[in-house]
Amino acid sequence: MIKREYQAIVIGAGHAGMEAALALSRLGEETLLLTIEEKSVAMMPCNPNVGGTGKGHLVREIDALGGQMGLAADHSLLQIKMLNATKGAAVQSLRGQTDKEVYHRYMLDVIAHTPRLTLTEAEAVDLIVEEGKVAGVVLSTGVEIAAHTVVIASGVYLESRIIRGEESYQEGPSGLKRASGLSKALARLGVPIRRFKTGTPARIARDSIDYSKMEVEEGDTDVYCFSYLTHTKLVEQQPCYLTWTNERTHDIIRANIDRAPMYNGTIKGVGPRYCPSIEDKVMRFDHPRHQIFVEPETLTGDTMYIQGMSSSLPRDVQEQMYRTIPGLEHCRFVKYAYAIEYDCIDPLALYPSLETKAVKGLFTAGQVNGSSGYEEAAAQGLMAGINAHRYLEGKEAVVLGRDQAYIGVLIDDLVTRGTNEPYRMMTARAEYRLTLRQDNADRRLTPLGREIGLVDDTRWNEFVQKCATRAALDAALEEILPPKVTAPLLQKGGEVPKTGIKAKDIFVHQGVDVKEVYALPEFASFPYEVFYEAAIDNKYRGYLAKEREMQAEMRALEDKVLPADIDYNTLDNLRLEARQKLNAIRPRTLGQAARISGISPADVNVLIICLVKRGKEGA
């Protein structure tokens, strides 16, 4: 029985589902957003922060394209830090501590004020597919809802299981209901299903912690925002705290390691290496101590997040080991740490548009694709939403290049190389790290966001204004500064200028502090953000030119679209392994083919020639 018809349905209202649903409805689609419980809308079931290395870049990019995450994070900010401040502009990332409650309520409010978007508490258990195209979903109540496109953003809820020592529950995160049925439906439709796991540390009552035994970690004195649209700055920042484990902690863990599900075989899912449990760290590394960060979950609430103490050990062991840590001797547990095991799909089953290869119009985004992290989820959600809309419109999908955005790197990695563990963004994954900076995300992506239709007039006008300011600044930077002016700037690098130097060239010199140059009266009228970006562009000029050369080569491969109907098995000159891989992954372009693991440059050359032959013979 079909109850209602929508243009689009988004399953799951976490960080991926939120962006997908907002993008779809903002682009004009009547959209239904399904959530298992209202509580789980834009929930942060793990760490209470947004951003981090690589992830901060993602948030800036989502914002530049017209997504919501940056604004939501700014709205709920408790503390802000620019990571890697001294290590160079290319690797600087923002990380903000956020108020989970405020974040959740803010997103509910955004949903309420978005036309064409309906939020409903319901569980999708099956998909309706007609002639290879998705046609709707079936709810657990048996109700069928029709739609022309569906985005699955089910996070870690599919057939999830919470494990803590000997305890095990069929539950979603934070005691919420899990979703059953959907992964069976996906498997039936030919999408390969896998099992991953992750974990979260305990939440401790705020008033049971002795902060005097910990180091205070303050936010930055320079206050930044995630969104290009946020102009109000955080006034009062909340501190975090740093403490360490010790040999007593480690002894307790070692003595009880046979009760850890990861070690006794209870958990079979694959966990992320970058997010190891404390028992993992102790067993694998012989360090005398491990860092523990204590972070506020909300401004007004009473719980603290114990970063670094994720565990699947039983409650009694958790109590013992947490209480060995300076400052936590008398801690009270509000929630115990747990591991969670869940179903996700093999992202090789996706096109770079995030549409499944098995079912037309069916998109997936977020943790269900084998990624981890709020930011990675939101980035995929945004792109899945955009492409679901374009699918409805019959337009070509938007696929961001690896030289265009971290979002492009993230999605390309997932759909081309696949992943054997929950995938986390890292700057090390980006080839063009100097091009993909967090400061220039708007210049990289806002024009595209405008074209897509997600950048509204306010954002666009601000961007155009900023570009004009930058043009004026570039002209000002052509001025020659006399030695008298440059001498103090060059002093740190041990240089004594004899002749005048063009302002834009000063950044290339060793030891020049951008802020000191900015302090010159010539630049007083320019906003610092714009000045900083220009300074970095000039400082990195030579390196950026090199990156552009590499990009041109990659682009040449990327522009060659492979025929969709090709049977690689018929290309006799290709090695068997290459033929099998190409048939399985069906890359969209030559560039994507070249990045498949196990495809060598020689294979690509053979492929090129085979294609030429095929074209010429066929003609």
Binding site: K87, Y274, Q291, M426, L434, Q510, Y543, A602, V606, K613
Partner: protein, 437 residues
């Protein structure tokens, strides 16, 4: 696209060899070394010009053709240099162009560019496929050889060390909280050690070339020392396989013989006969400079005249393998402790050849050597990038820039062993450091 260059003809065979360049500015690059009286300003496309190629220490008469984009094989600006077929000269021209800014083309790269510019016909496609297949086959067989095996053994530890450095840097960039302070100690010494290792590897590069192209042997000596007789004696030696090698204006190779698997290219130093003339005489200069570039110099002395080595002449060959040989022991006894032979009777000639061959062979077999131009270039590039990482780090440059040089070094060096960087880097980070929360 940047300018790529490669030798387009099989090495060591044929009367001419072709060095081909493709990319924007290919002619500008060539014109820095090539001059022809007939070119005024820019060359006419598709015209063949006779001219001279001026290398650092050689001049080669050759032909050059310029094909203007898009009417060329690759669809880009293409220049072809037709040289005398000698291996050494072809190699020297290529090297000059590489040092001048061209990049050594990857296998199939010309064809790849041709493809991207829509220039490949069906018959060409068939041909290219054959070349690629042949290349991978020869690479396969090369990979199995002792030589590459030992080279690999020497590069692998360097690659491992470089990887560890990259792990350290990338981990401290992506995990600033956990890795705080980890980089400070040990980074620079490790970097220095690695640079040293690469330099040592590069120093063996010449040996690799010896094995591939053969060993050039110059026989010098005063007139009447018996150079020609020795040459004849060598060529009439039964066990020596004599092949014709096209002469080049530069190396003046006349003959080449194979001794115990090592090819010896004998250089004609007839010019030295004119030593009685003015020292500036072109012939002498050419002969001497040919000898200077040779891998082994046989300095022939006349035992009968009681000749002693000319110290001034010897100094010109400092650092080279010079073998002092007394000739004419059929007439008189040679001074004690010197290698002696008789070109006339043939006594000792065989032993001389074996000595020269083993001189080179010992080096080749005992060490891993860079046998391929590509490997040589990879290690050279890696070494340059490491130096630049080193100076950037010491100058207090930010770590993101240091990382670029390290990554570039890794991708260059990785080409030798075919490693793909990203996966290994990430794997290393996770297995080595306790990071993540």
């Amino acid at each position: 696209m940047d300018v790529i260059a490669a030798i387009a003809t099989p090495l060591g065979v044929g009367a001419i060899s072709i060095v081909r360049l493709s990319g924007e500015g290919a002619w500008d690059l060539v014109s820095r070394f090539f001059s022809s009286k007939r070119i005024e300003g820019s060359p006419t496309p598709n015209m063949m010009y006779l001219g001279r190629f001026h290398g650092k220490d050689f001049v080669e008469q050759c032909m050059a053709v310029y094909f203007a984009a898009p009417r060329s094989y690759t669809g880009e600006d293409v220049v072809e240099l037709q040289l005398h077929g000698g291996v050494t000269v072809t190699d020297a021209v290529l090297k000059t162009l590489l040092e001048g800014g061209a990049r050594l083309a990857a296998p199939g790269e010309f064809s790849r560019r041709a493809f991207f510019n829509g220039k490949v016909s069906l018959s060409q496609a068939e041909g290219i496929l054959g070349v690629i297949n042949a290349q991978s086959k020869s690479q396969l067989s090369a990979a199995g050889s002792l030589l590459v095996g030992s080279l690999h053994r020497r590069i692998q530890p360097l690659l491992d060390e470089l990887q560890q450095l990259i792990w350290l840097v990338e981990a401290s960039l992506d995990y600033p909280d956990e890795m705080e302070g980890e980089l400070d100690e040990g980074f620079l010494p490790k970097l220095n050690q690695l640079s040293e290792g690469l330099r040592a590897l590069l120093a063996t590069a010449d040996n690799g070339k010896l094995l591939r192209y053969g060993v050039s042997v110059a026989i010098i000596g005063s007139p009447n020392a018996g150079k020609s007789s020795l040459l004849n004696a060598i060529l009439h030696e039964d066990r020596a396989i004599v092949t014709d090698v096209a002469g080049t204006t530069r190396d003046t190779i006349v003959e080449s013989v194979s001794v115990e698997g090592v090819r010896l290219n004998l250089l004609d130093t007839a010019g030295i006969r004119e030593t009685d003339d003015r020292v500036e005489s072109i012939g002498v200069v050419r002969a001497l400079s040919a000898a200077e570039r040779a891998d082994v110099v046989v300095y022939l002395l006349d035992a009968d005249r009681g000749e002693t080595p000319d110290e001034e002449l010897l100094q010109r060959f400092t650092g080279k393998r010079v073998k002092l040989v007394y000739n004419k022991i059929d007439l008189t006894e040679a001074p004690q402790g010197y290698f002696a032979l008789s070109a006339k009777t043939g006594e000792g000639v065989d032993r001389l050849l074996k000595d020269i061959a083993s001189l080179v062979k010992t080096d080749v077999v005992s060490e891993g050597v860079l046998s391929e131009e590509r490997h040589l270039e990879a290690v050279t590039i890696a070494s340059k990038h490491l130096d630049s990482a080193n100076s950037a780090y010491r100058a207090g440059e930010t770590l993101d820039l240091v990382a670029i040089d390290l990554r570039a070094a890794y991708s260059a060096l990785g080409e030798v062993d075919g490693a793909t960087a990203t996966d290994r880097v990430l794997d290393g980070i996770f297995s080595r450091f306790c990071i993540g929360k």
